[in-house]
């Protein structure tokens, strides 16, 4: 079942009616794709190709110049239609430094007017799975980078949206921590029925985690390849060494023109 459809979405920045198109930068041009329910879609492309802009468009933080976004077949033309419908996680973890881990992760429920008590109970139940057991009363500043990202992910999971928009969630971590979190996410993902759009600039990460991968061209962003990743589950740290994986990787790199 198609959960999300993006239809001829275009966005440019910098131009204005007064100054004309001069100095205008096209971020995305005629972007079209569909996402199935439960799919893990990874999106890869060079810096500045508009990957983040796509997520910001979906999350209702910017308006497209043209094109349409459909959720379960219903169009969401206004930014306000899209706000509060996607679990958006910005590049930086953006944990609120004045809230404990527990009060940070229940933010989504709290803003939606839900019961804080029930949200805290559910959060406590999930803390061990997210490797945060015993840290619920810590200030975010006392956590390591990997823990902060897991806390931000838990906040996104707990907000209760079907579709998660993750903007390079492991991008700022060191290589080792990133490997660990990738394995962890592979494990966690099977326990939730979430549809995930996951941005990365790491080909290995995109192929290891995703069911499908979109390759973006350099600016202005267009989809240059839509690759099915039919590697068997469960995947682990050895998956990236297997011949099938390497074949996929060679193909992906060719599309990235690296």
């Amino acid at each position: 079942m198609t959960l999300l459809a993006v239809d001829f979405l275009s966005k440019s920045f910098g131009g204005s009616p007064r100054r004309g198109p001069h100095g205008q930068v096209d971020a995305l041009v005629d972007l079209t794709f569909k996402v199935e329910a439960g799919e893990f879609l990874t999106i890869i492309g060079p810096s500045g190709c508009g990957k983040s802009t796509l997520l910001r468009l979906l999350a209702g933080l910017v308006q497209p110049d043209s094109g349409q976004i459909y959720l379960q077949g219903r169009p969401l033309p206004n930014a306000s239609d899209r706000q509060g419908r996607f679990g958006y996680m910005p590049q930086r973890d953006t944990l609120l430094p004045w809230r404990t881990v527990l009060d940070n992760v229940i933010l989504g429920v709290e803003l939606a007017g839900g019961s804080r008590y029930a949200a805290r109970e559910e959060a406590r139940r999930l803390l061990p799975l997210f490797g945060l057991d015993g840290f619920e009363n810590n200030w975010p500043s006392t956590l390591s980078g990997g823990m902060r990202q897991r806390a931000a992910l838990l906040r996104t999971f707990l907000a209760g949206y079907d579709i998660l928009l993750l903007d390079e969630p492991f991008g700022a971590l060191d290589a080792l921590t990133r490997r660990m979190l990738q394995q962890w996410l592979l494990g966690v993902r099977r326990r939730f029925s979430k549809t995930i759009l996951f941005i990365t600039h790491d080909v290995d990460e995109a192929l290891l985690l995703g069911d499908r991968m979109l390759v973006f061209s350099p600016r202005p962003g267009r989809i240059t390849a839509d690759l099915k990743i039919d590697l068997p589950h469960p995947r682990d740290e050895n998956t990236i060494l297997e011949p099938d994986f390497l074949t996929l990787k060679r193909n992906a790199l060719a599309h990235l023109k690296l």
């Binding site: 910001r56 999350a59 209702g60 933080l61 706000q83 509060g84 419908r85 996607f86 958006y88 996680m89 910005p90 590049q91 930086r92 953006t94 609120l96 430094p97 004045w98 809230r99 933010l107 989504g108 803003l111 939606a112 810590n138 200030w139 500043s141 006392t142 956590l143 390591s144 907000a159």
Partner: protein, 254 residues
């Protein structure tokens, strides 16, 4: 470690006082030019009841002045935050207004508001308003845009964004402004009293110096400093109580 941090400056302070005492004794400096620390202490002890009355008066002016500055300062910061156009128009004026010497305004305030408590309170408010307003205003603009994006993506309303992100993000800035204001406030009240008052540390200082009671001048100066330090520490304690996360961050934690 904490004790050692306080111990070293304490030893320096005590040694300086001892040197001062000995130098005054050795050179036989007349008491009305430079009294020894022991004489300053005696002068304080002799006038302690009177000093209490003056301290009470000055602190009343300080309390009202800080209170008014707090309300107006935060209100102005909130208004400037609400309207970017107003901010562009008023913010530079606020900064320029700081070049007007408040000291020189005090006589004018006496002309306008008489010899009661009003002109003193106004001087304190003038001293305290600026650091509170500017720091709070800067604090409100300091919120990370990504945090606001996160809230908007979660469908947060404008009041929710204000209460749950922008105000807490501005709190550290607000408190550094309030600490500066608290430190200035006693000096502000003293300046206000200087120009004309019946009671207060400023007028006590003036009378003491007119009578060449130099030891009494010194003891009043020490009291003014101690009151300023006390106010600073009070604000610091409130700050620690309301923002434990901020201090945890400083100490490194984990």
């Amino acid at each position: 470690m904490r004790n050692a941090r306080l111990l070293v400056p304490a030893i320096v302070l005590i040694s300086l006082a001892v040197c001062w005492e000995l130098a005054v004794l050795a050179m036989a400096v007349p008491k009305w030019i430079l009294p020894a620390p022991s004489a300053i202490w005696q002068a304080f002890w002799a006038t302690r009841a009177l000093m209490g009355v003056h301290v009470g008066q000055t602190m009343l002016e300080v309390a009202i002045g800080i209170g008014v500055a707090l309300m107006t300062g935060v209100a102005v910061a909130a208004i400037l935050d609400y309207s970017p156009m107003l901010r562009r128009a008023v913010y530079p004026l606020l900064v320029i207004s700081q070049t007007v010497p408040i000291l020189a305004l005090a006589p004018l305030l006496i002309i306008w508001f008489g010899f009661g408590i009003a002109p003193k309170v106004i001087v304190v408010t003038l001293f305290c308003f600026f650091p509170i307003a500017i720091n709070t205003s800067d604090g409100l603009t300091s919120t990370e845009p990504e945090m606001i994006d996160l809230f908007r993506s979660m469908g947060a309303t404008r009041p929710q964004i204000w209460l749950k992100v922008r105000l807490p993000a501005a709190a550290p800035y607000f408190f550094s402004g309030l600490k500066i204001a608290a430190t200035y406030s006693v000096a502000g009240a003293v300046v206000g009293e200087w120009v004309g008052a019946k009671q207060g540390l400023g007028i006590f200082l003036l009378r003491s110096s007119a009578a060449f009671k130099t030891a009494q001048v010194f003891s009043t100066i020490v009291i003014i400093s101690l009151l300023s330090i006390l106010l600073f520490l009070t604000v610091f304690a409130i700050e620690r109580g309301t923002m434990p996360w901020y201090f945890e961050e400083r100490s490194g934690g984990h």
